[in-house]
């Protein structure tokens, strides 16, 4: 009788008695199955409930220390952060009554350090070299949450990191954002749809497949971008590449030399792309040419023996007004390489506030999580690290680490350090 086209609303005109009884018994059977499964699952859920730590995120928690790092990167006295349900609800102000308080004498609260360019905790290599353009490959699929490296990184203060495909593909895949710990315990992947990874490094050029030279590399990139604009690309690649070409998805471009940087800037201008540059050695030559064409630059990893041109790169980009994030480069670098890199950059002239931002809020923005982590501000996730002094001071160490409001690491008690000049 129904004339609607919607199939779901169609009702059978008439049912025989047998059919009705069959339907009823089916329904009973279905309910019984569901009830059985629920009966089996409830205890498990109950165990899960019981297994969650007593300091779970539901409790309102206050973390207090001597000072904290402001969103601008400066140090301000009397760091007090009130956490509720894993989110920061209050910074500074009075201590609310009836709360669990973790106090750290002489400590400094810092947002959890974010290493945006790593190969941390992966099983196998992060590059699929068979073809040059692989927008659907995801670094998330190589992530091994049981790797021992994650614990080492956590103990150095790194709470979030980006897994980046390597530099040997023109379009290498999607960056994955992961955390070294979580309120539930264990590392986890936050998102597998991070920025798109591109590269113009010499490793892109191979003997046995296209491209074999830079002209082909840039030509291929241009062809792909224009094909996506025209809508004639194969559906498999359409999503990520189209999003990138239309400026909805950020892209990270490895541009070791100044010529690569200029090529990237030109592509970004021409097609309206959102680009972040990685691994540039020629900062001295191109810092002034970027303008606002790029979203940011990732500088590093700066080891203790970094060359002068790399150490000064951060300073030059900041002076040119380009957002700068520092890369840690784990696991080829030591666990505290982010702080070492920040120190090296600071000694080469980067302002200290910019250095603190470069290891916390700027990488969060470049990974696309700028509204969620990376700053100690109301409404952000409670990912905190407590240092025994200025995070930029290599003499200070990690006292405790919080992820999502849960304290996931406490350093073993050691002799307190004296006053530092």
């Amino acid at each position: 009788m129904s004339t609607s086209v919607d199939e779901r609303s169609t009702v059978p005109m008439a049912m025989s008695e047998a059919e009705r009884r069959a339907m009823q018994s089916d329904r009973i059977r279905r309910i019984a199955c569901v009830g059985l499964i629920a009966a089996l699952m409830l205890p498990a859920m109950g165990w899960a409930q019981a297994a969650s730590s007593p300091t779970s995120a539901q409790v309102v928690r206050v973390v207090e220390a001597n000072a904290y790092v402001t969103p601008e990167g400066k140090l301000r006295r009397s760091g007090r952060v009130v956490i509720e349900n894993g989110v920061i609800v209050q910074v500074g102000g009075e201590r609310p009554a009836g709360t669990v308080v973790d106090g750290y004498e002489g400590g400094v609260l810092c947002p959890g350090l974010i290493d945006c360019h790593t190969g941390l905790g992966v099983l196998g290599p992060l590059g699929e070299h068979a073809a040059a353009v692989q927008p659907r490959v995801r670094a998330r699929d190589a992530f091994n949450r049981y790797s021992w490296q994650l614990r080492a990184a956590l103990e150095a203060g790194i709470t979030t990191f980006g897994l980046v495909p390597d530099d040997e593909n023109l379009v290498g895949g999607r960056v994955a954002v992961c955390q070294t710990a979580s309120p539930e315990g264990g590392a986890r992947a936050l998102t597998d749809g991070g920025p798109l990874k591109l590269s113009l490094a010499p490793g892109v050029f191979k003997v046995d497949r296209e491209p074999t030279s830079r002209s082909a590399a840039l030509g291929m990139l241009r062809e792909k971008l224009e094909a996506v604009h025209g809508g004639s690309n194969s559906s498999a690649e359409r999503d990520a590449l189209r999003a990138f070409a239309e400026g909805r998805l950020a892209g990270w471009l490895t541009a070791p030399s100044g010529a690569d940087v200029l090529a990237g800037v030109q592509l970004a201008d021409e097609y309206g792309l959102r680009l972040t540059l990685i691994h540039t050695h020629d900062a001295r030559l191109v810092a002034g040419e970027l303008g606002d064409a790029v979203e940011g630059v990732v500088v590093g990893p700066l080891g203790m023996m970094a060359e002068r041109r790399d150490a000064e790169a951060a300073k030059r980009f900041v002076e040119a007004g380009v957002p700068v994030a520092l890369a840690g480069g784990l696991p080829h670098q030591p666990a505290d390489s982010l702080r070492i890199g920040a120190c090296v950059a600071t000694r080469a002239g980067l302002p200290r506030a910019a250095a603190r931002r470069a290891i916390t809020s700027e990488p969060a923005k470049l990974l696309g999580l700028g509204k969620w982590i990376g700053t100690i501000e109301k409404g952000y996730q409670a990912d905190l690290v407590v240092f025994s002094g200025d995070p930029l001071d290599l003499r200070s160490r990690v006292l405790a680490v919080y992820v999502g409001g849960c304290r996931v690491y406490v350093a073993p008690a050691t002799a307190t350090q004296g006053d530092r000049p």
Binding site: G303, M304, R308, L330, H332, P334, D336, V344, L394, Q417
Partner: protein, 472 residues
Amino acid sequence: MFDNRDVMISSVTQHRSGRFARAWWLRWPVLVSLAWWLSGANLISAQVRPLAIEGATVLTGTGEVFRQGTVVLQGGKISAVGRKVKRPLLARRVEARRKYVTPGFIDCYTVLTLRGKPRSGVATARAADAFDWYARDEIEAAWRAGITAVYLPAHVPDGTGGLGAVIRLLPHGSPDDVVLAGEAALCSSVAGRGGALARVKTTEALRRGFIAAREYREACEDYEESLKEYEEQLAARSKKAKADAAKKKASGKAKGPNEKKEGEAKAGKKEEELKKPEEPATDRVNEVLLRVLDGELRWRVEAQDPAAISNVLDIAEEFHLALVLEGATGAHLCAERLAALDVPVVLWSQPAGLAYQWKQGEQGCAAPATVLQDAGVAVCFGSGVLPSRGSEPRLALGVARAIGQGFDEVAALGAVTSEAAALLGVEDEIGRLVPGNRADVVIWSRHPFAPGARVERVYIGGREVYRADGDE
């Protein structure tokens, strides 16, 4: 009197005008040179005039700290250090309020400015000869890190290399000023590559080297003895011959030819052929090893693997050598033995990557410097091997990181200043801000281990060699 004065004045003026009028052209050069000298542009005057750095926090490197202290440099040496030090006459002042003054840091192992390595087994090759005086970029990079003196090694990948040297990073100067110790230590290394068999071979080769040196010494001593004997015998024979000749003379000349012949035959029987003992060939390599055996030269060995380290300790114990360990990432496992044998350790300030730290098995250690220090081993820091040509050493950062891992702060500054100088045997020259030491001084914008600390000025031998850009 009036007349006298008048005459005096006139005579003086006349005299003055006369002489000066004739040599009026002397006036200008005299005035110009006076102006130049006073303006301090003259290097010689800079040496002669003392320099006083005032108002800074002075870290002397021996553990003493002077707030608002003063350091006076004169004649290339430190003449006074303290809180209330009187500024000498004609001294140039450097206002250093809110800044820190330290002795120039000493890098206990670096390959900066080193060009070339010795061949294996040539123990006489000197690192001082491979020092590149004109590597201005690298020397400036070291100054920017506050380093004014370095130890340059002469390593080969495996086995015994050459002689390391202690160099002051002076861009110009006499060799005496620049090369503080041309032959500071013998360098060897026991590499981890090649597996256990290679390590055993290298250790055996080292041991054989020392034994061969001992044998060489014995051979030399034997030679000396036998030479002495030979000379004594020679002297005795000549004396005897003289006595016989005198007897003959005295007893008359009535001797027939037959008797003469008899006498000669008798003399011939008594005299055997006196052979001069053969001198053993001079072996410079063994002579160097002997100096090590005698404790004159230190023996510096680079060994990373704990097994290699214990092999090297065995050798040092056996031959009573003054050993210094370099690199030594596995030293924390033999900390007690190192302390017992009083072996100092030079650690690299550059930490190993995460993947490589733990690759050595479960033997990796998060804070090796602290473990060694707690066991009582003397620890110093060096830059280690540079990863690329443009790398810059950042010694202060490495030490700051060690402090963060538990290293004692007071000892940390000493590890790159006074302790390092003592390790290299040049504590009377550099490494401390005490009167009498060479004037190698660095002015920092903040405490050298604080974040953002920059080197503002570097003085070597009392002369300013580096000034940071943007510094007045």
